[in-house]
């Protein structure tokens, strides 16, 4: 398979197609404030879903959540800065710092101008918005905090990361509900691959624990009253989570030339829209997104070893996703890839979900360890897949998909590859 060094047509002429390496990963999640916290948790099959504390559940129909533990903004931001930043933007900055630090990149003038930042979020600064509107509507205080608009705006996270690192290239936000981060990472991948950027920070962040937002989720009747059990017969819905994930992307040859640790590659991206129903997922839409991602990667479905599923744990998603996977990968169970939903452990972080799952998928490829679908109790004939129930599995895996399918019918799928020179690099880094 040839995915490097080729040429690709574009509106403005011809542009070089490059292989795209991931050289930094940052993640803040219910497991802790770093990517190793997330990876250690999911690779051991532990769940970080606990009783909700950020909002007292009261009469809410659900009381479990995957909250970022012990998050004190003062640990990461001075007082003046944190006044500008909603929790969702703070998470993005924390994840970006870890990713950039790990990559070893410095964004001096020229590289800064040629670096992109694309971050996803579903609800942006909803906690700040809820708090200010509570003062207005419930407490009858007509004056809102002057920084409400810059805290609430969806692009607050991307703008903060841009400011913090002096990155002055293309910077924007993608908001496609639960697919936000996959759309963001996919576009950043294409920009680096096709020469529109020399590096990119991409991912997503979310902080959904505000009473108004939770009440709205409750009304949709898709949140589980107890736990998240994707693909299980007795699944009762999703569990909301929060956090952020950020990847550093750059051309593989440049990463190798500067001696960076290549954590894996992104090799394909596909998108589709169901155009069928605003909340009911369509297997056809999901199927088309997976096929588009494989085509973008010039890969046959037979090459895929593992799928990090969207796997929300709702009745509708898991059955539709199974149907789509079976349509793409063929009927006989023996040839289907392993599939797991790590949302069973880190929760559904909405606009950050794809970013946390990209980080997890890269961890799986790097370590040859497939994280399980946790909390699995009983097989559902409508979800007839190898869902790696409850126990992590050692397996030499080279290629993996990560699925995101959003309300609104918007689907985004990424294809990742393990770093083929991994063992050589690990030896070099061990010295």
């Amino acid at each position: 398979m040839d995915v490097g060094g080729g040429e690709r047509g574009s509106c403005g002429g011809r542009i070089v197609t490059r292989r795209v390496a991931v050289t930094g990963i940052g993640a803040i999640s219910a497991f802790g404030h770093t990517f190793p916290d997330l990876w250690n948790g999911v690779s051991q099959g532990r769940s970080a879903i606990r009783p909700m504390t950020l909002v007292p559940p009261g009469t809410l129909r659900f009381s479990s959540a995957a909250e970022v533990p012990d998050f004190d903004p003062a640990r990461y931001f001075d007082e003046r800065d944190s006044a500008f930043l909603d929790r969702f933007a703070q998470f993005a900055a924390v994840a970006a710092r870890e990713a950039v630090h790990g990559s070893g990149l410095e964004f001096r003038q020229e590289l800064g101008e040629r670096t992109a930042i694309i971050l996803g979020t579903s609800a942006g600064g909803t906690t700040s918005e809820n708090e200010e509107y509570r003062r207005l509507y419930a407490l009858n205080q007509p004056r809102l905090a002057p920084l409400t608009i810059p805290r609430v705006m969806g692009n607050a996270a991307a703008s903060r990361v841009s400011l913090e690192f002096g990155i002055t290239g293309p910077v924007y936000t993608v908001s496609t509900a639960c697919s936000s981060a996959n759309h963001a990472i996919g576009q950043a991948f294409w920009m680096v691959r096709d020469g529109h950027a020399e590096a990119a920070l991409a991912g997503g962040s979310e902080a959904p624990f505000a009473l108004g937002f939770l009440r709205a989720w409750e009304a949709l009747r898709v949140v589980s009253p107890d736990n998240c059990r994707p693909f299980s017969l007795d699944r009762r819905g999703l569990i909301l989570g929060e956090g952020a994930g950020v990847l550093v992307l750059e051309p593989l040859d440049r990463a190798q030339a500067r001696g960076a640790t290549v954590l894996g590659e992104i090799v394909g991206f596909g998108m589709s829209s169901d155009a069928s129903h605003i909340t009911q997922p369509s297997a056809r839409g999901a199927e088309r997104a997976m096929r588009a991602a494989l085509a973008d990667a010039h890969l046959s479905h037979q090459a895929i070893d593992y799928i990090n599923a969207h796997g929300t744990g709702t009745l509708a998603n898991d059955a539709a996703e199974t149907e789509a996977i079976r349509a793409v990968f063929g009927a006989p169970t023996g040839s289907l890839p392993m599939v797991s939903s790590t949302k069973s452990m880190h929760g559904h972080a909405l606009g950050a979900a794809g970013a946390l799952e990209a980080a997890v998928t890269l961890g799986a490829l790097r370590h040859g360890l497939v994280p399980p679908t946790a909390n699995y109790t009983a097989p559902d004939p409508a979800c007839d897949l190898d869902v790696v129930p409850n126990m992590p599995r050692r397996a030499a895996i080279e290629l993996a998909l990560s699925n995101s399918f959003a309300f609104g019918g918007l689907n985004a799928v990424l294809v990742f590859r393990a770093n083929s020179t991994r063992s050589a690099l690990d030896k070099a880094n061990a010295g």
């Binding site: 129909r61 009304a219 009747r221 009253p225 819905g237 129903h277 909340t279 009745l315 509708a316």
Partner: protein, 92 residues
């Protein structure tokens, strides 16, 4: 309350369904499934929301999942209203 829903109660539920779905009330009969009335999952959630408001009851997600027809909506609401009245009687 009796163990089976009476005619006025049935009429209240079918009116809520008809109003919510914007269809004539006489088409909303006990023998109809939501599918037959072209009520999809999201319409169904809206109808349950309206029934909750009409009778001041709380339909759990698990109960909600079992409601896929007019009869199931009527009987589900009836059971919850009966439970609410029994609880109120026990308190007084």
């Amino acid at each position: 309350m009796n163990s089976t829903p009476n005619a006025p109660f049935i009429a209240r539920v079918t009116k809520v369904i008809a109003d919510s779905r914007k269809i004539p009330q006489d088409t909303v009969t006990l023998d109809k499934t939501f599918d037959e009335l072209k009520i999809d999952s999201l319409d169904g959630i809206n109808i349950l929301f309206a029934i909750e408001a009409e009778f001041e009851i709380d339909i759990s997600d698990d109960d909600a999942r079992k409601i896929g027809s007019v009869r199931e909506a009527v009987e589900g609401a009836w059971t919850l209203v009966a439970a609410k009245e029994a609880a109120a009687a026990a308190e007084s």
